[in-house]
Amino acid sequence: MHLPHIGIWIAAFLTISSLSFLYKDNPFFRFAESLFAGVSLGYYVGIVLNQTLMPNLIAPMLEDFGQNWDLVVPGILGVLLYMRYAPKIGWVSRYALAIYVTYYIGLDFTRRLHGEVMPQLARAIQPLASLDSTTLYSLVYIVGVFSVLVYFFFSKEQGPITGRISRLGIWFLMISFGAAFGFTVMGRVALLIGRLNFLILDWIYPMIGLR
């Protein structure tokens, strides 16, 4: 028999503590929850320090400041963000925040336009010249897009025709929500499978000499 090591025991204890909430709220669950939040934050700080700040900012400046002096600018911007904790000069942090926000708006704007809106629009515009399964599929696609857009058109009160179209849009939405919910159940079940798999194969089996 090869007993599982201490790390497995701790992981098993925390897994059972977390799952114990299903029976009812209890101190073990609270402990596991708080520990998870604390460890996650500590891990995040450590990994950003070692994997991002050290190789991208601190190490290059220490090794060759002449070549990497421009890194001072993002370094200062990063420090400025923390000025919000000093009430008297908190306003300084807004400059760094403004640069961050504008950068990500610029990035996201092109991403949304080139990566989502244009390709999806191009896909929605399909020739209907031939009668085959692809054409039928394209028709369903176009009717779905159009009816859902009508449903979300709030600038004008819906009349008898637009009301019917938007009702069709609701059906399309409900079907997509159903599919999404089904996938969500599958995803959550997968997580439970992962945890039980760990408890059975990595913790219980070695204890009873099966592994």
Binding site: P55, E116, A190, L196
Partner: protein, 293 residues
């Protein structure tokens, strides 16, 4: 019978939890080996990797954390196995902050154990984690070493043989992202339009429905949707490379194919409870209406 349905209406939900627990645990203890049918997105992903040539570089991005590891780990492992069997070179990176690096290291270590002939730096490399996923991707499109000056061991990229001739993402033949949340989507909506590199995504089941739109628009080559997608991919791998059959059959390690058994059993139990619950509710409501009348 009426008593049974009355009890169902007032059933303590913890009994349902117990049923769920038993339905998941049983197939793990006694694997059933239920069949797994491949879907078109998984087949397309597999075939695309098969169409690559010896020595082509594949970027495998770990964009998930431990919370979705049961779904994403088998995908990353299976894609890496296919790369190793196809003699493709692969470069690993991690863009998800909470635990992706640790998971990447674990999966790489597992594949190293399975394929002892693989040489670090020549056949594969691990670039480690970088914060700020969207900005990192933008930089990698222009200069990978600009985003990752060193690999996970601290070796400058210029000194790693596999990175010779791989300056930016244009020299990469495929990006595979095992993803939870938005990071996987950014490979499709940001990197693909920017540099044109083909993308295959392995999302969690929760995110999978939205990626069908990207498949239809041709923005991704294929998809491994959740644990089911991973199981399909493992199946394809076993069919194409019979030597993997032994691994997937004999290993006590977790595979998506085994998880698929538990998924199927539990889905059946959930459907039964849905059916019973609805019948009990309808009968209860009808009885209440009769009582009022």
């Amino acid at each position: 019978m009426a008593g049974f349905f009355e009890r169902i209406v007032h059933l303590d939900r913890r009994w349902i939890f117990l049923f769920v627990l038993l339905s998941v645990a049983a197939p793990i203890i006694v694997p059933i080996g239920l069949p797994v049918d491949e879907t078109a997105p998984t087949r397309a992903a597999f075939d695309f990797i098969e169409s690559l040539h010896d020595g082509d570089v594949v970027l495998i991005s770990f964009d998930y954390g431990p919370s979705s590891a049961p779904e994403n780990d088998p995908m990353a492992e299976a894609v890496m196995r296919q790369c190793a069997l196809k003699k493709l070179r692969f470069v690993v990176c991690a863009l998800y902050p909470l635990g992706a690096l640790g998971l990447a290291n674990n999966v790489v270590a597992e594949i190293e154990g399975e394929f002892p002939d693989l040489r670090y730096g020549v056949d594969y490399a691990n670039l480690g984690y970088k914060d700020g996923a969207a900005a990192v991707m933008r930089r990698m499109g222009e200069d990978i070493a600009g985003a990752f000056p060193t690999d996970v061991k601290g070796t400058p990229l210029s000194q790693i043989p596999i990175m010779k001739g791989v300056h930016d993402l244009r020299q990469v033949k495929l990006v595979f992202t095992a993803a939870t949340g938005l990071i996987g989507e950014w490979w499709i909506t940001q990197v693909h339009p920017q540099v044109g590199v083909p993308v295959i995504i392995g999302p969690t089941a929760v995110s999978a429905p939205k990626y069908y739109a990207f498949i239809n628009s041709g923005q991704i080559v294929g998809m491994l949707g959740g644990m089911k997608g991973a199981a399909e991919f493992e199946n394809l791998l076993r069919e194409r490379y019979p030597q993997m059959e032994k691994f997937y059959k004999t290993t006590r390690a977790f595979t998506a194919t085994k998880g698929n058994d538990a998924q199927t059993v539990l889905h059946t139990v959930i459907l039964l409870f849905l059916l019973l619950g609805n019948i009990a509710y309808i009968r209860h409501r009808a009885a209440a209406a009769r009582g009022k009348a």
